[in-house]
């Protein structure tokens, strides 16, 4: 537990000092989302229909931008060796770093999403489901992303490789996330899709940290 707390605290204070990293992700999310009304035209019905999909795709791509930083900096400056030698299971390090990633990327994306939803004329009924779906889906994004980020450590052009690895695994999150919002808009129960997003998150939190820890150990060698 001391390891988890120490790493989480350090990563959060690093994120606050280097807030440009979080800002870049949010700026990408905002710009990518706003490009759609510009490209498709201001027709309200069309935008409303694609709004949830656009928001989810932009959020996933924005999160993807930040993934390679989860472990890469620690790998390059030698911190990773020390973390491997922390005397406790490496899983706690992975959990702490993933939690820090979610708090500095996922959470800000969730907070910004309603503002961007306005520019896409998302119907009022969709907002609650959008926030809830993002809240359940983004932790999985960070967890799967952590496995990918750990696997590509030390490889050239790791960022590109990372998107090939991780984006296909994001498809279920995208599908159920979008479906949740659309169900809310047409007035159908969102329980099933949200429950599936929750199940994905639980599945990821039980398996991803172990996979990422194994990959980190491999990278440290």
């Amino acid at each position: 537990m001391t390891v988890f707390a120490a790493v989480l605290k350090r990563d959060l204070s690093l994120a606050i000092r280097q807030s440009a990293d979080t800002f870049t992700v949010l700026a990408f999310f905002a710009i990518a989302t706003v490009l759609f009304p510009l490209g498709i035209g201001p027709e309200t019905n069309t935008l409303a229909r694609i709004a949830s999909g656009v928001l989810w795709v932009s959020a996933l791509l924005a999160a993807l931008l930040s993934l390679d930083r989860i472990f890469a900096v620690d790998f390059e400056d030698g911190t990773l060796d020390q973390l491997v030698l922390c005397g406790e299971p490496l899983v706690f390090v992975v959990l702490a770093k993933t939690a820090a990633h979610w708090l500095t990327t996922g959470l800000p994306l969730i907070i910004l999403s309603p503002v961007l939803a306005v520019t896409l004329h998302l119907p009022a009924q969709g907002y609650g489901a959008l926030l809830l779906a993002l809240f359940l889906g983004t932790p999985t994004v960070s967890l799967i992303g952590a496995v990918g980020a750990a696997l590509v450590l030390g490889s050239r052009r790791g960022g590109v490789l990372l998107s090939f690895l991780v984006l296909p695994l994001y498809v279920p999150i995208l599908i159920f996330g979008t479906l949740s919002v659309e169900a809310a808009i047409i007035g159908v129960s969102t329980k099933a899709t949200l429950a599936l997003l929750g199940a994905l998150a639980l599945f990821a939190v039980t398996l991803a940290p172990w996979a990422a820890a194994a990959a980190l150990r491999q990278a440290a060698e």
Binding site: S13, D77, G78, D81, Q82, G87
Partner: protein, 232 residues
Amino acid sequence: MVPRINSGTALSLQTFERASFSGTGLACRRGGRLVFAGLTFSISSGEAVVLRGHNGSGKTTLLRLMAGLNRKSAGELAWNGAEIHDFEAHSALLRFIGHLDAVKPALTVAENLEFWRNLWGYPPVDVKQAAQRLGLGALADFPARLLSAGQRHRLSLARLLVAPAPLWLLDEPGNALDDASLQALAGIIADHRARGGMVVIASHGTTVVENGAPLDVGAFTNVSETHWSEAV
């Protein structure tokens, strides 16, 4: 900036239980190449081993192998005579200082040290004493990005003081250090050994610490004779 050497600080009060660390018939293969083979060493409380050998002779590899970071191809590592299987538990007994500083430029000197202290679960004692010991006392509240290469290296060495452990594995600890810092380092290593600590130091040729400061080099394991041997 002249580092101060105060041997009597609270940092150096802890003594370690008597322990021994040994390796027999160690071999390591990396990228298909045999780095070294048939390597045997033994070290117990208060002793030091200096790893000597030219570039690429496997000093770093051996240190990382001792830490459990690299896997050995053959041989056995033992703590108090019992073979080490759980390298996670083993890693709590050692501190490894590598070529990379593991310093976060965005954090201050004190914050960097506090992180290491917290990571290894040590009570929140003042880390400034450790910083001071390595001549970084006045820089404690400075962001680490403003430090010179030598100062960053000293900061990484201060990790040894904020989170004590009986076995120190030091990879070229004298690199980038000025004379005063070398002296401070020699003092710190001597203190550690006096408290029952063990030190394994890698250095190419004759160690910088050995010639630059009155550092008592202990049992010398002749790595350079064994590492080219192809027999595992």
